[in-house]
Amino acid sequence: MARTQQDYDDIPGTFVFDAERSREGFGINMFCMSLMKDDNRKAFKANEAEYLKKFRLTPEQTEAVLKRDYNRMLELGGNIYFTAKLGATDGHSFQHLAAVMTGASQQDYAAMMLGGGRSVEGNRSRSGKDKSAAKAKAGAKSASKAASASKAKSKASSKSKSKSKSKPKSKSSAKRK
């Protein structure tokens, strides 16, 4: 029953909608899809729990929908393009949902976006947070690179140079200039 661990589970704050979640979340997403029709929106609003029964959600999924726990919906197989339809049914803008998922107020979230968005620094990896992120990253990179390394070794090294991610900062920035 436990979810198969994937390399991308290491990305913090992210629920990748993969084939496994797609299967698990079929009911949530079909429920959200049904909200494209006005009659269905009205029926849902009239009696949410009753309406949800049609979609055979698990008790956890039902609870997440009723509580509008958007992150939990994603974790249990909902997809953002679908769950956004539930947000719209509630009369919320997309940015409102984004703010809710990040735990920020909409105002703060909007300000963050205007300021250039959330930085990727410190947000790349769960396993090697902040200081050690570069190291963990280098490990992950070299693993993925090993696959392509057989093709062209020299290319692999130029790749890391130009992207300036896996090498220590001072080195790559020096190279850039």
Partner: protein
């Protein structure tokens, strides 16, 4: 013979469509975005393509989770705008080019790309927003027929960047084996960096985006080796849709002229990226400059940028 003459990369942020539809284009926030496409509209008006192939993704409009085709080619005579919850966008019905589309389907499938054929489909903002950005807001009809190519980037895994690039090449072979003289442009849409789901929503990575655009011009093969994990980690969970730009790029010559680029942050939750690439008129022209060290020059964006007189609008350079 039909010929692909140029490729256009463009974000397809839904809020851009909403801004257009609700008359907000003059507000400072949106003006910053739309001003970046003024030159593009002029370019398009001059280029006058006979057909546009638009690579995009559907956002739970035409396809729910009942069917998730990896590559779906629109072969219908027309594609009405989808109702995405606020009524269909007030844009003209998109007219297809069924004859060329059928020819492409046949050619590409025999070229070992197993497309899904779609004979009835509505199209959402993923397709119509880039159309607006390049063609403006025509009242009655779009200036040319469109062949939609919908790519699954919603459920993981989308096709790999390499697969997309190779599909672009197959599309080109298909177009070039069509007997009628047609000028074709191809759009790659979506991106650039953004994440709209989960606690990490709001992620933007301008540095990565710029590198992507540089390589798209100069060294696209490098981009075909980027693993999905890197897209998601660096450009956000939804940033992975940038693989669609590689279909566009694959359909062009190895050497292209970058005639225009625009980048700004943000539109709603997303970094807006835009590029126009033309197949070089004289294949040998640019080669000489890049000659010495192909990899070296491609990696250094500033040097590459200086090489040509590219119209760049540095709008709100972030980080």
């Amino acid at each position: 013979m039909a010929k692909i003459i140029a490729g256009i990369g463009s974000s397809h942020v839904p809020a851009i469509g909403a801004a257009l539809d609700n008359g907000k284009t003059e507000e400072p926030y949106w003006k910053r975005v739309f001003s970046g496409f003024e030159k593009s509209k002029e370019w398009m008006a001059k280029t006058k393509p006979d057909v546009a192939i638009v690579v995009y993704n559907d956002h739970a409009s035409a396809f729910s989770v009942e069917m998730i085709p990896t590559f779906a080619l629109g072969c219908a005579a027309e594609f009405p705008p989808a109702d995405e919850g606020w009524g269909p966008r007030p844009v003209p019905v998109v007219k297809g080019h069924p004859a060329l589309a059928a020819h492409i389907a046949q050619s590409v499938i025999l070229d070992e790309f197993d497309l899904t054929i779609v004979n009835k489909m509505e199209v959402d903002h993923g397709l119509t927003v880039p159309m607006n950005l390049l063609f403006g807001q025509p009242k009655d009809a779009w200036p040319c027929p469109v062949i939609p190519l919908a790519v699954n980037v919603v459920m993981y895994p989308p096709p790999t960047g390499h697969r997309c690039y190779m599909l672009g090449k197959a599309l080109r072979r298909a177009v070039e084996s069509y007997p009628e003289d047609l000028k074709v442009v191809i759009f790659g849409t979506g991106g650039l960096s953004h994440q709209i789901s989960g606690p990490r929503a709001g992620l933007i990575n301008s540095k990565w985006d710029k590198s992507f655009l540089d390589n798209l011009s100069k060294d696209p093969k490098k981009l075909t080796r980027i693993p999905h994990l890197e897209y998601m980690r660096e450009a956000g969970a939804e940033g992975i849709e940038m693989v669609m730009w590689l279909i566009m790029r694959g359909a062009l010559d190895d050497k292209v002229d970058e005639v225009y680029r625009f980048y700004t942050v943000p539109a709603s939750n997303t970094a807006v990226g835009h590029i126009i690439l033309e197949n070089a008129r004289k294949a040998s022209g640019t080669r000489k400059v890049a000659g010495k060290s192909k990899r070296g020059s491609a990696g250094k964006s500033r040097q590459a940028a200086a090489r040509k007189s590219i119209h760049r609008i540095a709008s709100k350079g972030k980080r």
